[in-house]
Each structure stands twice: as structure tokens, then as C-alpha cells.
């Protein structure tokens, strides 16, 4: 059997192209060797030397000096190209981002701000990697983390409960309602001693400042809840549920028996209910994040509340005797 026949019969198989466009000849034995010496240029040249000797030996006997020179030169160039592109190929073969990552921003119901690259949330636990020791750059781990990162802004829910002094309550209630409307919000609830308003989150601080002007704020309880993780989770589950429903709906048209159709319809019904539930939850979170909730209460703390809040009280009995109740009681 000649060498030419060996080449044609697959002993040498150029099975892929390098990224640089230069043919990258992969010998089966060379591929295995490259896995071992991938990181070492010296190792690659050692493999080249071995290959050179082998090829020269075969060509010298079959085709003579000229062919030997041309083939040897071509092989060297190919090996160099393989070495130069090995890093690029390794980077290109890194695991792809999770299926939801790039689609999350375009998921139905997902807010536009999620596509904003300003803030990033990387889920280190999902990468399954251990944290790198200090001073050592975690190369592969960081690549994986970067691929898992999801561009997203925080989804925050602001709520505040203000306890205001009990004075001119009727007028104060009207002023609070008016303030909400002025800030682009609306009235959510109103009773004799309490009012709840919703204002755009961007005007939350303005609302608190405005309320301080209209009355004496005795206690304030402001909470900020970060629901970003919950929001992303629901968005992903919703997207997946919709995709599954689409696929199952396609199956319905190709169902071959009534029994199959019924099963598919039941599954579709279950998925539709799940989608509705997720949509409702997502809408609720969006609404809560978009509009802050401020409740204003016009009544003093009760005895039990004072104990719970641990309101500081001085040990002077005459202080507790102050007030209109005793002063105006002339009996």
C-alpha cells in the first residue's frame, strides 16, 4: 500500500478548519497528544518534531526530496496555526450561557430595565464552582460565572407606614389624598383614622417629604424589599411554561386517538392555569415595584404597641398627667 493511498484512505483526516481559516490537520495520535500538551508550546513543538521525522521518513522513500520539502513546510504552517488558534478554540468551546439568560430580557412580562447592562446579578451557586483562594485568579470559573450572569436592575418594593399626630385629621386626610394625586399616584384606602396612597416609586421620597409638611410625623416605618430574585424566577418559569404549552398544543393537532386528545387537553388546561397564576404574580410584583405604598395612621400608639416598640418613658409621674383629658375634665 502506497503513502498516497494511505492519505486517501483516511489515515490522515483533515476533519475541521481552524478559526483562522488555515487548514488544521488533526492526526488521531496528534489530537490525543495535543490534549496532553495543550498548554505547553514546547510540548507542541516536540510533537511537531516527532511528526516531521515520521513524514520525512515516509516521503523520502516514496517521492523524493522536493515533495518532502513542500509537505514538511505545509505541515509546519498547519501546526503553527493549530497552536495559535488553540487558545481561541478553548475559549470558543466554553459552556454556552443558560437558555434563559439571553431570552430573559425579552420574556413576556419582563420589564425593559432587565436588558439594561448597568447592574449584573451573577448566581455563583448555580455555577457549582468553589470560590478561588485569595490571590489566585479563577480563570475558568470566572468565565463560567460571566456566562451565567444576567443583566438586570434591582426590582425593589417600597412601603412606608407613618404614624401622624392626631390633629385636624379630616383636613390632613384630604391633604394626603391630594398629595398622592399631585405626585401621579392615587388613593388606595381611606377611613376615619387611616389613609393608604400609592405613588410612583420615583416619587416616594417626595411623598414622604410632602407628608412631613402637612403634619407632625410621630413614627415612620419605611421598608424596602428586594424581589429581584423572585421576579426573575417567575419570569423564567412563565416563559418556560408558555413554551411547553406551545409544544403541547402542536401535539394536539397530531393526536391519533380521543384518549390522547383528552390527555393533552387536560395538560393544556393545567398549564394555562399555571401560566395565569404566574402572570398574576408577576403583574402583582410589577405593580408593587412601580407604585410605592404609603399608609398614614392618625392615632397614638396603643399600650401594647408601646411595649412592643419599647417606647422610652421617663420615671416622672407628672409627665403622664399632662394632656387635655385631665385639664378639661372639671368634674
Amino acid at each position: 500500500m502506497s503513502v498516497k493511498n494511505n492519505l486517501l484512505s483516511g489515515w490522515i483526516k483533515p476533519d475541521r478548519m481552524s478559526l483562522a481559516g488555515v487548514p488544521c490537520v488533526n492526526f488521531p495520535w496528534l489530537a490525543r497528544a495535543r490534549e496532553t500538551y495543550d498548554e505547553s508550546p514546547l510540548g507542541l513543538w516536540a510533537i511537531a518534531a516527532v511528526a516531521w521525522e515520521e513524514v520525512v521518513h515516509v516521503l523520502d522513500t516514496a517521492y523524493g526530496r522536493v515533495a518532502k520539502t513542500w509537505v514538511a513546510t505545509g505541515l509546519s504552517v498547519s501546526l503553527l496555526a493549530c497552536g495559535a488558534t488553540s487558545k481561541m478554540q478553548m475559549a470558543a468551546s466554553a459552556p454556552p450561557p443558560p437558555p434563559g439568560a439571553e431570552q430573559l430580557a425579552s420574556a413576556p412580562g419582563a420589564p425593559k430595565q432587565m436588558a439594561d447592562p448597568g447592574l449584573r446579578m451573577a448566581d455563583a451557586s448555580s455555577s457549582g464552582s468553589k470560590p478561588a483562594p485569595p490571590g489566585e485568579a479563577p480563570r475558568v470559573e470566572s468565565d463560567k460565572l460571566a456566562s451565567d450572569a444576567i443583566s438586570v436592575k434591582k426590582v425593589l418594593i417600597y412601603t412606608a407606614t407613618l404614624q401622624m399626630a392626631v390633629f385636624d385629621v379630616e383636613k390632613a386626610l384630604a391633604r394626603v389624598e391630594s398629595l398622592a394625586k399631585d405626585l401621579g399616584g392615587f388613593l388606595a384606602l381611606r377611613s376615619d383614622k387611616q389613609i393608604t396612597i400609592r405613588v410612583p416609586s420615583s416619587r416616594f421620597e417626595d411623598a414622604i417629604s410632602g407628608l412631613a409638611v402637612h403634619g407632625d410625623i410621630l413614627h415612620r416605618d419605611v421598608k424596602v424589599e428586594d424581589v429581584t430574585e423572585q421576579y426573575l424566577d417567575i419570569s423564567l418559569r412563565l416563559r418556560n411554561a408558555r413554551q411547553v404549552r406551545e409544544r403541547i398544543a402542536q401535539l394536539l393537532s397530531s393526536a391519533k386517538s380521543v384518549e390522547d386528545s383528552l390527555k393533552i387537553e387536560r395538560e393544556l388546561e393545567r398549564l394555562s392555569a399555571e401560566i395565569e397564576r404566574l402572570e398574576g404574580r408577576l403583574k402583582y410584583l410589577q405593580d408593587q415595584a412601580k407604585f410605592s405604598t404609603i399608609t398614614v395612621v392618625f392615632q397614638p400608639l396603643r399600650e401594647s404597641e408601646m411595649k412592643r416598640e419599647r417606647v422610652f418613658q421617663l420615671p416622672f409621674p407628672w409627665l403622664s398627667q399632662l394632656g387635655l383629658g385631665r385639664l378639661l375634665n372639671l368634674d
Binding site: 407632625d216 397614638p300 407628672w318
Partner: protein, 158 residues
């Protein structure tokens, strides 16, 4: 015998003087025109009322433990706002014609559906904390603002 009699007379005079001093009120206040002074007050040392329900009361509390006026003003504010739910509407310095310097605090509070005002004027002396309180409906107390100021200005305390 004569020196002993003189001694007993002097002793009796000193004792009677001491009793008189201890029984005398540490303040003097004059009710404004249109007010009636109420007798037999248990909680207050002095109380008077107008026909329209504005009430004036005075209490002199032994100044023990000692604290400066800022401490007592803050103690009253905290009590009225934090515990009783009153709105602090104003705080201003006041003084009497006798030279006492104090602080006036005006609070607001709704009783039922009616808005009331409640003034506390505090004077701190070495021996006493003098509290002059006024209370009444918002309209009435605002109407009597000048009389209230006059009562505070003419107050005398030790």
C-alpha cells in the same frame, strides 16, 4: 426668767414664720377677665375656666432631680408626641415681667371630631418646675391668645 421668756418668744416667732413660709404658694398667677377660679383642686395647684371651655391650670413641681430647661422641654415633647399622639405645632421662648425665662409649646389634638389646642408654658427655677397649661377648642384658644400671653407675662414664681 426674763432671758428665758425672750428666748421662747423668739422661738415661737421663728416657728410661726417658718410654717407660714412653707404654706405659701411658690407662684402667683392672675386669672384673665372672663375666667372663674375653681376651688379644691386635687391635681392642679390652680385652675380657672372660661365660660366657653378654655381652661387655665398651674402646677409647681419640686425640681428634683435637677435638670436644665432643655431636658424638661424635650421630656414634655416626647411624652406628648410619642406617647399621647399630640402634634407639636410651635415652640417659642417666653419671659415674665419679673424676669423669669421659659419655653412655650403649643400642641394640637383632636378629641372626637373637634380639634383642640393645648399650650404648656414651662419655667424652671432652682426649686420648682412651674407649668402653666391652657386648653380649649382651636377656635376659642386662638381667640383668647392675647389673654393667654398676658397670664404668662404676669406670672410670678420662685
Amino acid at each position: 426668767m426674763l432671758p428665758l421668756q425672750n428666748f421662747l418668744r423668739v422661738l415661737a416667732f421663728l416657728l410661726s414664720s417658718g410654717v407660714l413660709v412653707s404654706c405659701s404658694s411658690p407662684f402667683r398667677v392672675t386669672a384673665p377677665q372672663g375666667f372663674v377660679v375653681l376651688k379644691d383642686q386635687a391635681l392642679y395647684d390652680y385652675r380657672a375656666t372660661s365660660a366657653d371651655g378654655v381652661v387655665l391650670a398651674v402646677r409647681s413641681i419640686k425640681h428634683d432631680p435637677k435638670g436644665d430647661i432643655d431636658f424638661w422641654v424635650q421630656a414634655i415633647r416626647n411624652r406628648m408626641r410619642g406617647v399621647s399622639g399630640y402634634a407639636l405645632l410651635a415652640t417659642k421662648p417666653v419671659s415674665t415681667r419679673g424676669g423669669l425665662k421659659g419655653v412655650s409649646m403649643r400642641f394640637g389634638h383632636d378629641e372626637g371630631r373637634t380639634s383642640y389646642l393645648y399650650d404648656i408654658n414651662l419655667f424652671v427655677t432652682e426649686k420648682y418646675l412651674h407649668l402653666i397649661e391652657f386648653g380649649g377648642t382651636k377656635e376659642e384658644l386662638v381667640r383668647l391668645d392675647k389673654q393667654v400671653a398676658w397670664v404668662v407675662h404676669t406670672f410670678e414664681g420662685v
